[in-house]
Subunit: 323 residues, 2 copies
């Protein structure tokens, strides 16, 4: 998408411009390493998109958009330590390259740097942005803790799951859009509407991620097929299946999810139950539902219809409906 490329260029140039040059290099090099490896950089793009939508000055939004990217990368560094992940975006993770201690410390410093990148804003706006940012950060920590809890919690409910993904995925896109809107001087109603647009797109995205893990085409998705099943992850598919399974099916699910095994029969067995309980269709309907809620918020916003189109394109892109 053309508009994504344009924003991505702005972000890439800004990251190059604001690359950390401070000492000690042992602290700042890992930070440059992770922010330098291109992800899609969707979150800072969301800041810029929202700023544009409400006619704001894009220049003013650039450093705050980097703050969001720093924050996101801070969570990646620490999450990768917690998950003992060796790779991220196909390159070795920070703690793998630089060790555990530098992983912890450069993550901390990246979070602090994020706060610094709001400092060009005038006090009222600064405070408004920092409040949302801090609040979002805390919800992300809570979401991460819920996710950790789910590994051992027996009775995870659908509502537990929705809260977890809302905190872990929905809140940061919501926050990114809202901060962009505030920088553009959007009013309260518009800021809240774009916040909710981001929240529900984030939720839909995460549900779609669960779906694609099992039902996606492996090549286009680029991850191990059914990795979540192997890992016994309590995804939306699993939770819906539990809810709609017969007694016998539930027993079988419990059997497979009680052990970690690379046995392909596990995937066959679980997928069969997923299809029998029709959780594939149910899950796509959930994606659709949250996308529709998001679109309703988009319609409510007081902004030119023409300018809303990129938001629809972004949603389609994220929910992989155009691929």
């Amino acid at each position: 998408m053309e508009f994504l490329d344009r924003y991505q260029e702005i972000i890439t140039a800004a990251i190059e411009k604001y690359k950390f040059k401070e000492k000690p290099v042992e602290l700042y090099e890992p930070m440059n390493y992770i922010i330098g490896h291109r992800g899609k950089r969707l979150r800072p793009i969301m800041v810029l998109m929202a700023c544009d939508l409400f006619g704001g000055d894009l220049q003013k939004a650039i450093k705050p958009s980097l703050a969001i990217e720093f924050f996101h990368n801070f969570t990646l560094i620490h999450d990768d330590i917690m998950d003992e992940a060796p790779l991220r975006r196909n390159v070795p993770t920070i703690h793998t390259v630089y060790g555990l201690n530098t992983g912890i410390l450069s993550g901390d410093a990246l979070l602090l740097k994020a706060y610094k990148y709001f400092e060009d804003l005038e006090p009222e706006l600064f405070k408004a942005c920092i409040r949302i940012f801090t609040h979002t950060g805390l919800l992300l920590c809570e979401g991460q803790q819920y996710d950790i809890n789910f590994e051992v919690k027996e009775d995870v409910t659908y509502n537990d799951y929705i809260r977890m993904i809302t905190y872990k995925t929905g809140m940061l896109s919501a926050c990114s859009f809202e901060i962009g809107a505030l920088i553009a001087g959007a009013n309260y109603a518009n800021a809240k509407a774009i916040f909710n647009f981001g929240k529900h797109i984030g939720i839909a995205f995460q549900i779609m991620d669960d779906y694609l893990d099992v039902f996606g085409e492996q090549e286009s998705f680029g991850k191990k097929h059914a990795g979540d099943i192997y890992e016994n992850k309590k995804t939306v598919l699993y939770l819906l299946a539990k809810e709609h399974a017969t007694e016998e099916e539930e027993k079988e699910l419990d059997f497979w999810y009680s052990k970690k095994t690379d046995n392909i029969d596990k995937v066959y067995g679980v997928e069969k139950i997923f299809r029998r309980t029709k959780v594939d269709e149910k899950t796509l309907r959930l994606v659709q539902k949250h996308n529709e809620i998001a679109q309703e918020y988009l319609q409510k916003m007081d902004a030119p219809e023409e300018k809303k189109k990129p938001f629809i394109e972004l949603a389609n892109y994220l929910l992989r409906r155009d691929s």
Copy 2:
């Protein structure tokens, strides 16, 4: 000291009042665990002292003073992971009780909570405080990285050392005092003077800490005698000794510091060189020097002399000259 007790009571009551009640408990319980175990809580006390000195409203300073305490405890949680420390204040460290992942995550959440506790301040003041706070946080990370670097760096200089302890110890007391002063509405000159008072007291305190490790009375100090020597730490004693040693003494120092051993002969050997090079006296003179600089800043401040007395008492207490 009476005034310390009074402030400590205020902080203790505030920590009890603002104890985290949020969910998930798995995230917030470790945070309550560390902030609940009483240290001396000197940093939040510094916020209150500075606020009092310049005639501010103590109520307004309480939540920001907790922010400083949260920040300090965030650094302790993460530092203890990096140091693989089993105990802190004689109780098991967070990662020992709750595991590595909860250690990282509850540390992160505590840093974020710290930012929240400034939110009652009006925008201008909020921004001023957050700027100092973030800047200080980054310097602490840099100091911690320098400290890590020193373990393998061969040619650590005295200036390297002073920078490291300034960042790791001096800046947070400086920041605490300055934030208290700003909340009281102190002018720029007073805020900077009390910042520098805190900085130099912090430096003096850290140098004294190095001194007491070797030359303190073990019982009153409560730590293993000469732990820094066993650990080959590049303390001010070691650096000054290297500087003033004969060729032969330097060889002997290098010999002992090239290996980790519990051999008591190492401590005897190194202490003998410390005494021969008179680094004990030199170190005390350095403590004195930084204390004097601090006192000069105190004198410069535009505040009633009577109200400055607790600051002199605090300095004496920290530098253990009254015990």
